[in-house]
């Protein structure tokens, strides 16, 4: 995998093991008829001339049946536009989107047999109707006889802890419950592919945890294919198989959560030693990327970015200097840090995503300086 600590810096973004292309380049290497979702060269620009805003640029990826993909990106990265373009709610300028092999733009009715979406959190259903009435209505407009699927609706409500509120008007429910009602109404039509845009937006920790558990269970039990857009990294880590990170309309990362986090192994050690004088520290600083050096009660504590090989070289060097090892901790990054790192170091994204990515990859060697300066690729061009 490109970007792992043991590989040289290429500036490439991690790719999924299924060789999904991150950006264009002939589209995903997955049979469009086999994929649950197949997106190839999708592009959308709003307005024109000086006012033009490129929301989605040459996006390609595939999602296999039963896969759960997290969609991350700072505000304005193009996530919602991409989702709506895939669903045909926004007309893309270029590219195609298929759901279970059916082109959504050429044959929308066939495609909509399989797919539905929760687009704006708690909105998307009728607050004046009861929970059950919402489910029955949305099942009917998706081609289901509400009476015939009544048992399935009852089970769905049971699983989502909504059974007791089935005959309560949605407007009388809490925000968390409203979110779950929308989710239930999306699933009421027995779709096999669902897009969930910010499903945990505005939820408290407990409600978010519950919803995550339910999403995981529903995916496992029903074999749903999910694309889940969220700013909540914990949701993505918990629920998703794979993560697509967007910045400025482009896919900058497409990889498994596991690989994504593994790529940050390099950042990770906080070491405490005894017997280190300034000369020793100078030598170590010269050879390794030591940061946050501090003296505590006669001991020296520092952090170091190092992969496994670098770590062993460091311990060899410490042994050669006769240092007494007092403690070693790994500093474990989470997805939020990976995300911030890849999208340019600030929550709003912006220029520098690719440059920082290169910096991160370069830093994986442990001794190379972090890249800095202006963005080096199109991912960092201001628009």
């Amino acid at each position: 995998m490109a970007g792992t600590p043991s590989e040289p810096s290429t500036g490439q973004v991690p790719r999924s093991s299924d060789e999904t292309s991150a950006n264009g380049a002939g589209g995903p290497a997955v049979d469009p008829d086999e994929a649950a979702i197949h997106v190839d060269g999708l592009a959308k620009t709003f307005d024109s001339g000086a006012e033009a805003v490129t929301a989605v640029e040459d996006v390609s990826f595939a999602v296999e049946p039963g896969e759960v993909v997290g969609l991350l990106g700072p505000n304005g990265a193009g996530k919602t536009t991409m989702i709506k373009s895939i669903l045909g709610l926004v007309l893309p300028d270029e590219g195609e989107a298929r759901v279970h092999g059916t082109d959504v733009h050429d044959h929308p009715r066939q495609a909509y047999e399989h797919v539905d979406a929760m687009l704006e959190g708690a909105r998307n259903d009728y607050w004046r109707l009861t929970v059950r009435e919402n489910l029955r209505y949305f099942a009917a407009i998706r081609g289901q006889d509400p009476d015939a699927v009544g048992d399935r609706h009852a089970a769905l409500l049971e699983h989502l802890d909504l059974a007791e509120k089935a005959d309560t008007a949605v407007r009388d429910l809490s925000r968390g419950m409203k979110q779950k009602v929308t989710l239930a109404s999306v699933l009421a039509g027995d779709v096999s592919v669902a897009f969930l845009d910010e499903p945990t937006l505005g939820l408290d920790v407990e409600s978010s945890l519950k919803l995550r558990r339910e999403l995981t269970r529903l995916v496992d039990e029903r074999g749903l294919t999910l694309v889940l857009s969220s700013h909540d990294m914990e949701v993505i880590e918990d629920v998703c198989d794979r993560v697509i990170i967007m910045s400025e309309g482009r896919v900058i990362v497409d990889d498994t959560v596991e690989n994504l986090l593994a790529g940050f192994e390099t950042q990770g050690y906080r070491i405490t030693v005894r017997g280190a004088d300034e000369t020793t520290l100078d030598d170590l600083r010269e050879r390794f990327d030591l940061t946050d050096i501090e003296r505590v009660d006669g001991r020296v504590r520092f952090e170091v970015a190092a992969d496994t090989a670098t770590f062993y070289r460091l311990t060899d060097a410490m042994e050669a200097h006769g240092l007494d090892l007092a403690g070693v901790e790994t500093v474990q990054p989470d997805l939020a840090e990976a995300f911030v790192e890849m999208t340019g170091g600030d929550a709003r994204g912006g220029p520098g995503a690719s440059a920082d990515r290169q910096g991160w990859a370069a830093n994986a060697g442990g001794e190379a300086p972090r890249a800095s300066g202006p963005p080096a690729s199109d991912g960092g061009e201001p628009r």
Partner: protein, 294 residues
């Protein structure tokens, strides 16, 4: 940052959480569930009509005020007119009742479809109606039927109160009145689709939309017998036919074929044009990415 003991953080990770859920199950290991459809157009129409009525009664004040104001304005005209014009006004009361009935019907259809589209956009449900296996067209058509059905219910209540209030009797041959009134307000539905489509695109068009309501009065009272072209205007031909059916007892089959042809033709023309404009505006809204905005 979080910390974990031990030099190899990879070993200390919980694969079921931080590494994502893909390790245990893996994508592609589950066959895609087949979506089996158990319903059809009947269930679609039934659900849309039921939902429309439910939402209407769940805003009880709005529903009650709508009915009350319908009766109140007629009462103002009736008692005011009787006071001012006396017997002369009473002689023309049948025409006023039929015209007012048609005005409430057409206004209900026009406003109903327009406000329904606007409300769906603001509730975030419009886009979900777009994503159905039936297609947006049939769903919007089902909504139009639901609105016409509800409008007939409310306007019939107002008609009954008007007849009671004035002590008037009218010919209410349903075989004649129902199709003529329906075809008449189909034209108003077309105008509602135009304004609904424009509201999807431009969001705030209330000034133009409200003005058009008053134009309905002129269309309903258009002199189709004096100006040949006036019968091709929306509502005009149907209004004239409804007057003859309800006041003079003319049956549907007693109208000449040309008159019936103009009624059907104008209804189809205006609803077709309205749907075409609605299709164009929603397509434009999709291109601009504003379909679900409000």
């Amino acid at each position: 940052m979080t910390t974990a003991e031990g030099p190899d953080r990879g070993e200390s990770r919980d694969p079921g959480s931080a590494a994502g859920r893909g390790q245990g199950r893996g994508p592609g290991s589950v066959a895609p569930p087949r979506t089996e459809r158990t319903g059809g157009y009947y269930h679609l129409l039934k659900a849309v009509v039921y939902r429309d009525l439910l939402v209407w009664v769940r805003y009880p004040l709005n529903a009650a005020l709508g009915l009350f104001m319908g009766v109140f304005f007629f009462a103002l005209m009736f008692y005011g007119g009787t006071l001012v014009a006396g017997q002369a006004f009473s002689d023309s009361i049948e025409g006023l009742i039929v015209g007012y009935f048609l005005w409430t019907l057409s206004l209900g259809a026009y406003q109903g479809v327009m406000s329904d589209i606007q409300s769906e956009a603001s509730w975030g449900t419009l886009e979900r109606h777009y994503m159905t296996p039936f297609g947006f067209g049939p769903v919007v058509f089902a909504k139009a039927i639901a609105i016409v059905f509800r409008t007939f219910l409310t306007s019939t209540v107002i008609l009954a109160v008007m007849l009671l209030m004035t002590g008037t009797t009218l010919e209410l041959n349903l075989v004649t009145v129902l199709p003529v009134a329906t075809l008449t307000i189909v034209g108003a539905l077309g105008l509602g689709l135009v304004m609904g489509g424009l509201s999807v695109l431009y969001k705030r068009i209330s000034n133009a939309a409200n003005l058009l309501q008053f134009a309905f009065i002129g269309l309903i009272s258009a002199p189709v017998f004096d100006l040949w072209w006036a019968r091709f205007l929306p509502l005009a031909q149907g209004s004239a036919m409804l007057q003859r059916a309800m006041r003079d007892g003319v049956r549907l089959w007693e109208f000449d074929p040309l008159t019936l042809g103009v009624l059907v033709g104008t209804a189809l023309l205006y609803v077709g044009a309205g749907y075409a404009v609605f299709g164009l505006t929603t397509r434009r809204a999709r291109r601009l990415g504003v379909l679900g905005d409000y």
